[in-house]
């Protein structure tokens, strides 16, 4: 497969998935719905889908109060800061950790799959996770940035 640097590609996917998830979480505040409420739910007209009683805890944290959406959005901004990267994270060991990314992306996928708008964000996060896992398997590492790199003319 040529010389594809997997973690660089995964970064683009991860950024896309994260921006999507933040946007989805925002709409999740306005239109609150537990994605898995169809399991055991009953459809009523009018009134829509009535979730089963045994998922009441999810209804509490997604529909009654958008806690999952808020967490997902905060995490999303965190991942964005890590991936873009934010100036204060650039060059830190956290920034260069691929394992860290896999962990936060898995967490993002877990949160996003819970609410109605987040499914695609979750799937894409998993795609990025696969990319990062492949990068680790191939022994890729993020190079320590050189001080003047990328500042054409200013060096």
């Amino acid at each position: 497969m040529g010389n594809l640097i997997w973690h660089e590609w995964s970064r683009y996917v991860s950024l896309t998935a994260t921006v999507y998830t933040i946007w989805a979480a925002f709409w999740g505040f306005l239109y609150r719905k537990f994605f898995w409420d169809f399991v055991g739910g009953t459809l009523r007209a009018p009134g829509g889908l009535q979730p089963a009683d045994n998922v009441a805890v999810f209804i509490d944290i997604i529909v009654k109060a958008p806690i999952v959406q808020i967490l997902s959005m905060i995490l999303g901004f965190g991942i964005l800061a890590l991936e873009y990267p934010a100036p204060f994270l650039k060059g830190t060991s956290l920034y260069r950790s691929l394992v860290m990314r896999i962990v936060v992306l898995l967490l993002q996928a877990f949160l996003a799959i819970l609410y109605y708008q987040g499914t695609n964000g979750a799937i894409w996060s998993l795609v990025a996770v696969i990319g990062y896992m492949r990068a680790i398997m191939l022994g890729e590492s993020m190079a320590e940035a050189k001080e003047n790199r990328g500042r054409g003319g200013k060096a």
Binding site: M1, E8, W9, W27, F38
Partner: protein
């Protein structure tokens, strides 16, 4: 870059017209889609969903428009045919740029459309305007399934098309971009299943297109957007057929600098100077096509390309034809020695070596070529003065053009072309040895010393030794010590502003083109191939120096 975003997008007339047309049309379609949904009394039930359904319908129409456009710039053969006639109307060589603009728009409107639909389905489930769950619409109906699939395909295609990934691993980009096939199928099928309807349940019929247009009230946009897809598919089939026509690799020459020259005989292949082709070597890779500039002139009995062994594929090809890195390394070092010792004695930089197929155990590989495809440098014979600027490896198309000019000169048929200025800006001359030998031939064949002028600029930092070498050897020598041309090599970067300024002055005073009537406007065409930064500098000089008597035009070639 120095110029502001506003300056670039709005103060450039052509760009302004494009922006108004392209984005104006998109907003028009959005508004029209919104309006036609909102006032449609048959769809009153859906209109109870209010703004979200209007937005999704408007954005859907824009996406149909973009989906119809996305393949148009990729119709390479059709562009090649219409290009000479329509070059004034649109920059046909910027087709990839246009493809990208459509893709960016598509991503934006896909976001709008998807967001609106998430709201729609949420409300459909809540109000039961149709007796179904949001989940059903998302994951069991054609519209939802294809939509989610298209989004996933877009993520994969866009992320691998990023210029960094594309440069690292062209294969990843190339293969992933063929997901476009499924994307287009998804696009054409997106509104099937009678999605926009005035009834609660879909109204299917048994004959094509399997839904009744009485109750299914979508835009039917697939009837329009499918045509570019069909034409593109037809073009790919045609390219495949054309590529299978009799092609024979007749010779492989290895130049001392390490470049391989493949000479291919394909009688059905017709091209003009400055064009490029795709080449495939099934022994190296059965699926990959790689673009190369044609370096032979149309008058030559063969088609040649020069290939440097820099990537996976080119190295594989080198191994296959028996010119692997070891062979090339030996040749290169021999040539380097030659350039130090023997040059001034023999006046040449070592010759190319022809690989003898009888000597190696395997016969020469089968090759297939596809093309030719257009490049702006075809137009050199329509101007009085042609300025050819090649930077680094970007010099390759000019091999064909210079050869072609030379052939035409011999026949006394150079059109309105009176003079040729050739600029070659490169970091280190020895790496392009094969090109030098070609330049030598062309220069030696010049009868009129003023017709072709070769200007070579060497931009690398030169060591003190080299400086002395040049200073001593250069004085009074007939040939330049570095390039072995009669023209002298210059050092450092060319100052385009003063070059063009002097050229304009010389033309205006009549020194440059003796016998020209100063009443006539002289056209000076610049043909550039190389990196963007340099292109901007040259273009700036062209624009700045254009006056009443001299018109400088600029054209850039892309890889």
């Amino acid at each position: 870059m120095g110029e502001s975003w506003f300056h670039r997008e709005f103060l450039n007339p052509r760009r302004l017209v494009f922006n108004i047309l392209f984005y104006g049309l998109q907003f028009f379609f959005f508004g029209y889609g919104w309006h036609s949904q909102a006032v449609n009394t048959k769809l009153a039930a859906l209109n109870a969903l209010t703004w979200s359904v209007w937005t999704s319908r408007g954005a859907g129409l824009v996406l149909a428009f973009d989906g119809g456009l996305i393949l148009v710039p990729m119709l390479r053969n059709i562009i090649r045919v219409v290009r000479p006639r329509l070059a004034w109307a649109f920059p046909a060589d910027e087709n990839i740029w246009f493809h990208r603009q459509v893709a960016y728009s598509m991503a934006f409107w896909a976001m709008v459309h998807t967001t609106a639909h998430y709201v729609n389905f949420f409300n459909v489930e809540r109000t039961q305007v149709r007796p179904e769950r949001a989940l059903d619409i998302h994951y069991t109906q054609a519209g939802g399934i294809t939509g989610h699939f298209m989004l996933l395909i877009m993520v994969l295609m866009y992320s691998t098309a990023h210029h960094k990934v594309r440069k690292q691993c062209f294969e990843a980009f190339w293969y992933t971009h063929h997901l476009a096939f499924f994307f287009m199928i998804g696009l054409y099928a997106h509104a099937t299943g009678c999605f926009v309807r005035d009834s609660a349940d879909p109204d299917y019929i048994t004959s094509f297109p399997f839904y009744s247009t009485e109750h299914c009230l979508g835009y039917e946009s697939w009837r329009f957007t499918i045509w570019p897809g069909i034409i593109y598919f037809g073009e790919r089939v045609y390219r495949e057929i054309r590529a299978r026509r009799a092609t024979r690799l007749s010779k492989v020459l290895v130049h001392p600098s390490g470049a391989m020259e493949l000479r291919i005989v394909k009688p059905s292949f017709k091209y003009v100077a400055g064009q490029w082709l795709f080449i495939q070597v099934p022994d190296v890779s059965g699926l990959q096509w790689h673009p190369f500039t044609i370096t032979s002139a149309p008058e030559d009995p063969y088609v040649s390309v020069h290939i440097r062994q820099v990537g996976d594929w080119t190295r594989g090809l080198g191994e296959r034809v028996g010119a692997g890195p070891s062979v090339v390394a030996a040749l290169t070092s021999a040539a380097m020695k030659g350039s130090e010792k023997d040059d001034l004695v023999y006046g040449t930089r070592g010759n190319f070596v022809e690989l003898d197929p009888g000597r190696t155990t395997r016969p020469l590989p089968v090759v297939r070529i596809d093309g030719p495809y257009g490049a702006p440098a075809e137009d050199v014979f329509n101007v009085e003065v042609a300025v050819l600027v090649g930077a680094g490896i970007g010099v390759t198309p000019f091999a064909s053009i210079l050869k072609h000019i030379w052939y035409r000169q011999r026949k006394g048929n150079v059109g309105s072309l009176r003079r040729v200025e050739f600029f070659w800006v490169c970091r280190d001359a020895p790496s392009f040895g094969w090109f030098q030998s070609l330049l030598q031939e062309v220069e030696a064949a010049q009868a009129d010393p003023n017709f072709l002028r070769i200007n070579i600029y060497l931009t690398q930092k030169i060591s003190e030794d080299m400086l002395w070498n040049i200073a001593v050897n250069d004085a009074g020598a007939e040939y330049d010590p570095l390039t072995l041309l009669r023209s002298r090599t210059m050092f450092g970067r060319p100052d385009w502003k003063s070059i063009y300024g002097r050229m304009r002055e010389a033309i205006e005073t009549g020194q440059y083109l003796p016998g020209t009537n100063s009443q006539l406007k002289t056209r000076v065409g610049t043909y550039f191939c190389g990196p963007t930064v340099l292109a901007k500098a040259v273009q700036k000089a062209c624009v700045a120096e254009t006056g009443a008597n001299v018109a400088f035009t600029f054209a850039k070639e892309h890889f």
